[in-house]
Symmetry: C2
Subunit: 117 residues, 2 copies
DNA sequence: CACGTATATGCCTAATTGAGTATACTAGGG
DNA sequence: CCCTAGTATACTCAATTAGGCATATACGTG
């Protein structure tokens, strides 16, 4: 019953998730790409599976893991209450910067933070 | 040098952050509202402050804490790579549901997940 | 059915951390 | 000044957990 937050607190697990978002992978592929010992990979995958972040399908002796979306939602939902707060701050920063360099494009930042609800 | 992810893995800290997003609070106010022992509050605030989630200003013997936006960005940025993935899934689910109940409005879900980038 | 490959699990250890308790520090107010 | 309120910190303990290693299990192939 670990919260999704505790699960993604571990850097290796985040790495696995970031790898799986591109496409599904077998344990061996994850092991090689992330240069982790196999038991480490398997154990993290176990945690991720129990928490609903991934699921596995069997392919002969291989287990192929793929992402599941739900737990990410939980994190995103929690984060949501802070969005207005932090985009207000970014906007204020932008206005401040605009007064110093009226032509500097801050698009990058805007796209990332100011998503209208 | 704790990652923001490790910081928000702790439920009491998330509670403190959720409280502070409404408005700044003194240690005593946090203590009373969250019904936590004072040293616990102070310790978590210390962690949050070191990680840049909050900052404190002095008001006589009181310390008033308020939120800082930056660390939230870090989490949101990481989460970003999964957004397309999970909204694809939600969309698929919606299409599926639409075929069962062509008139059911799934607005709620749409607003939360399908934010165009 | 023996064997190799692919993956999971069990055990141990070291490190981290949150809670509890007591105590230290600081700023006013009488 | 002493006293109190408000907050921070030190210390101890218990629990959790990630890593390393060895081993077990499952599957496919000759």
């Amino acid at each position: 019953m670990e919260s999704a937050f505790a699960i993604i607190a571990e850097p290796n697990r985040r790495a696995i998730l970031s790898l799986l978002v591109r496409s599904h992978q077998s344990v061996g592929e994850i092991e090689r790409r992330l240069r982790m010992p196999q038991p480490t990979v398997s154990k993290h995958l176990r945690v991720l599976r129990d928490a609903g972040f991934v699921e596995s399908t069997v392919d002969a002796q291989r287990r192929v893991y793929c992402l599941k979306p739900e737990p990410f939602q939980e994190v995103d939902d929690w984060l949501d209450q802070f969005r207005r707060f932090w985009s207000d701050h970014v906007d204020a920063l932008e206005r401040h910067l605009d007064r110093l360099h009226p032509s500097t494009p801050t698009k990058e930042t805007k796209e990332k933070t100011r998503r209208k609800r």
